[in-house]
Symmetry: C2
Subunit: 246 residues, 2 copies
């Protein structure tokens, strides 16, 4: 049981709310019952902290006070449990790929990861200027699905060149000139642009197709997480009529 906010370990782990320390240590924080269980299933747990007097359903834990959980988690709410997790090692690219070009909002990135796993994307490639996926808010918005996808942070320019060599179909989005495309006939990589700028021009020049979502011209754009999710859903379910009751 640890009760002091001045405990060295507690002070060290609290620093994981800062990207610099997450990068340095290769660790990040997962707060709350659901995320801790998902981290555990993925075998990524270094250490679990549980609120004193709570039933331990997690295995090996260290009991701590409410104040310590609040301090480490960096949250306004009071989680009853949190885990210090290892970042996964960089993995090989497999399956369909979603690429994130300089997205800024952690909620949007977490939402996209959640939808990507739901629609069977196996790999997410994140540009160096995108919000850190190991940010607390991203991990929470992903609802723990971040533990179920290969996650690579790198230059998208380089990644696209590699994907082309592996015969991936490279898909972009273009709200004006884009087209509709269902069910590509080979593995694809879908690029999602930033909230304000969309996909950078130099990347758009590398795409095989640019997609658009048909909508009322009064609306300039959709939320980035929504747009990405609609496209992922269409690309992966668009041609499936098995359950069509229309």
């Amino acid at each position: 049981m640890i009760t002091s906010l001045q405990n060295e370990k507690i002070k060290e782990y609290t620093k994981l709310n800062n990207k610099k320390y997450r990068d340095l240590e290769g660790l990040f924080i997962a707060s709350g019952d659901h995320l801790v269980k998902e981290a555990s299933k993925a075998g990524l747990i270094k250490e679990i902290f549980l609120l004193e007097k709570e039933d331990n359903i997690y295995g090996e834990v260290t009991y701590v006070t409410k104040e310590i959980l609040k301090k480490i988690s960096g949250l306004e709410t009071n989680p009853k449990v949190l885990a210090i997790c290892y970042k996964k090692n960089k993995e090989e690219i497999t399956g369909n790929v979603i690429m994130i070009d300089d997205l800024a909002d952690p909620g949007n990135l977490g939402t996209i990861i959640r939808s990507a796993v739901a629609f069977n994307y196996q790999t997410i490639i994140i540009s160096n200027n995108t919000v850190d996926p190991y940010n607390n808010k991203v991990v929470r918005a992903s609802e723990g699905t971040i533990f179920n996808i290969n996650l690579i942070i790198t230059s998208l320019d380089e990644a696209i060149k590699d994907l082309k060599k592996s015969s991936y179909l490279i898909l972009g989005t273009d709200v004006k000139a884009g087209k509709k495309l269902n069910q590509p006939n080979r593995k694809h990589a879908l690029i999602i642009g930033s909230e304000n700028q969309g996909i950078r021009k130099n990347l758009l020049e590398l795409t095989d197709y640019n997609l658009k979502i048909k909508m009322n011209p009064k609306v300039e754009s959709l939320n980035a997480g929504v747009a990405a999710s609609i496209l992922m859903h269409e690309l992966n379910n668009g041609g499936d009529d098995n359950q069509n009751n229309n």
Copy 2:
């Protein structure tokens, strides 16, 4: 020009960050250039406050200090302009309808409004226990589309009965037992449930069809804004093959 934070009008308008006062006054706040322009187009502006020394591209304005804008807006960022807006009068139900059953997150509600307008829904009916749509965060997440939809706050039970009398097809969602349905052949009302509970059971009993989104069973659910948007997109574009290049 107003410079005092103690000015009576400023103090009154600052109270609009509180739902009680928004309800009492029938007013709400739209912050930032884009929202003020959208409010203006919709003819809903009561008064505009502009940062001192900024060019006035808005018509009749009152110049104020940075501190006053920050105080009224209730935002951490510093908007250069904001408008005090009239809530629209309750309007008749027209077109396709989206119904919101006790949604809690303002970002999710704003995102759903934005997608609803994008996918040509004309009316949104919001349950009494849903987050207030005139909340600052909802208005911002809607990107101003809240000015372009009929917005009715009422009991969904009653609303569904009225819609049935008008021959609307009532659609719910059910992640387990739901089916896929494209392009209904008559006007429809789609119910979206809360983040944690989904649609309340007594409402689900009133639906004609319950829809589902096909996805990886490892993922329990999608973000509520994403799920709503995918269904709205499918219901309104699902059968359109005009631009299909596959």
